[in-house]
Amino acid sequence: MANYSTNEFKGGLKVMLDGDPCAIVENDFVKPGKGQAFNRVKLRNLMTGRVWERTFKSGDSLEGADVLELEMEYLYSDGDMWYFMKTDGSFEQYAVEKRALADTEKWLKEQVPYTVTLWNDNAISVTPPNFIELEVTETDPGLKGDTAQGGSKPATLSSGAVVRVPLFINEGEVLKIDTRSGEYVSRA
């Protein structure tokens, strides 16, 4: 992979740091009145999702990381691994470990496209679409007529996620959920 110098550290660039692939989040230029310049860089460790803050001398460089983000459909799980398939027509499949799946496990639905991040051709993380439609499998019975008032209750969805929903929602209904906040948006 190519090396990238601090002045090429744009948001989204993938680089290697301490052996892990990272994405540049923010790059700021720090300089005393007259003197050596530094770059304060925020990087997201793509393995752990944690954000690191590091200082580099301006002009220092990091090795690029062979990271690809591809759209893949979720197929099935055998309990050990979760299988996804590229949507580019190649039918190529990738097996994803639980560790890489992390929180996305509770937003899985067959045939929905996810963004799978590959590092050296191994899946290291899976991002669900921002909005997903899921069926309610378990919740207290809905309250008739209560469509305008506030108030909410927990509902378990077909993917296993539990979200707060309005009181009028019933089992069997399909809901639109924002996966970033884990919040109910509307009936689908």
């Binding site: 002045n7 790059n27 700021d28 230029f29 720090v30 300089k31 005393p32 009145g33 007259k34 003197g35 050596q36 310049a37 530094f38 590091r54 200082t55 580099f56 001398k57 301006s58 220092d60």
Partner: protein, 324 residues
């Protein structure tokens, strides 16, 4: 994909900016300081090791010439001083390659002024007055700190006598990066910009004086009357962790100036940086005689940013370079 053509600053901010620039001009008019405009392009550039200049190749009657975009209007303004202009100020568009960030933009407005006959202390007070003229609220009292004292108080080291290994160790530890091969001033710069600067100007205006002699740039050097150490006759002003101004008791000695230019270019060669054409006309002007006095460069965009409570310097620019 749609192209983002919108200005970086809001139009309302640009109105405020224009109003504040009017106050700056009125401030100097009341003090009988002449507004001047000097060229953005010059045959000489800044040799400062830590400033990267942009240049262009221009067609002149005598053929193609390399012209340097000025990193500050200093050289031309000093030639005016040598020609007997008296006190002058300028709102000068200045250019520094590679400097883009929350506090920097490739091109920016430098408010630079020169006061023949002023001591450094007198210019510190005038800079303080200008800043108060532009800020909407009283920033509180002015505090002056010797560079050496700041390091002793905040880091418990003496920046003038601590050995290089000790400085490298501290810089590596505080910066979280490898500074084991760094030069003395590079270690001090890191500690200054990452540890000390963010704490300055939190209560009032902090003025740092008496920089290490090695960081004199175009300032005179003098011996500290308290401890006898050689220091640079320089100051910087900070508010909310932001460096606003950098002032010098100006070097007027032509030979010394020439030596510093050539030392800079040697240092640039050693670092593998391109050499910059030395401004021989400035050296000639100093040789003919420039009145002693003090001068200061103030980042006007940053001062306006503070005055308007904006988070980034780009927020007060019509078009910051990434969107220009």
């Amino acid at each position: 994909m749609s192209i983002d053509w919108q200005p970086t600053a809001e139009i309302a901010t640009l109105r405020e900016r224009a109003r504040l620039m009017g106050r700056v001009r009125a401030f100097f008019a009341a003090r009988h300081v002449l507004e001047v405009e000097t060229p953005v392009l010059g045959h000489g550039g800044s040799t400062d090791v830590h400033l990267d200049s942009l240049y262009c190749e221009a067609m002149m009657p005598s053929g193609q010439e390399r012209l340097w975009l000025q990193t500050s209007p200093e050289f031309h303004m000093k030639r005016l001083l040598a020609a007997g202009s008296g006190p002058i100020f300028q709102l000068a568009r200045s250019f520094r390659d590679g400097e883009v960030g929350s506090r920097h933009n490739l091109e920016f407005t430098m408010l630079e002024w020169y006061r023949p006959g002023f001591s450094l202390g007198a210019l510190i007070d005038e800079t303080d007055a200008l800043i108060r003229e532009v800020l909407p609220d009283d920033p509180g009292p002015q505090h002056r700190h010797r560079y050496r004292d700041l390091f002793r108080e905040r880091l418990a080291i003496d920046p003038f006598t601590e050995d290089l290994d000790g400085l490298r160790r501290m810089a590596s530890e505080k910066g979280g990066l490898d500074m084991e091969d760094a030069q003395r001033d590079d270690c001090l710069d890191l500690l200054m910009s990452l540890v000390i600067e963010p704490t300055l100007g939190r209560e009032g205006l902090d003025v740092v004086i008496d920089y290490p002699a090695s960081q004199a740039a175009l300032a005179r050097r003098h011996q500290d009357p308290q401890d006898g150490a050689w220091v640079a006759s320089r100051f910087e002003v900070y508010r909310h962790g932001l460096e606003l101004a950098n002032g010098y008791d100006e070097l007027t000695d032509a030979s010394e100036q020439q030596v510093r230019f050539h030392e800079d270019n040697s240092a640039r060669r050693a670092l593998g940086k391109p050499e910059v054409d030395v401004d021989e006309r400035l050296v000639a002007a100093l040789r003919s005689g420039m009145p002693s006095g003090s001068g200061v460069a103030l980042g006007l965009d940053r001062l306006i940013q503070l005055a308007l409570g904006k988070g980034r310097v780009a927020d007060v620019m019509a078009f910051a370079t990434p969107g220009a």
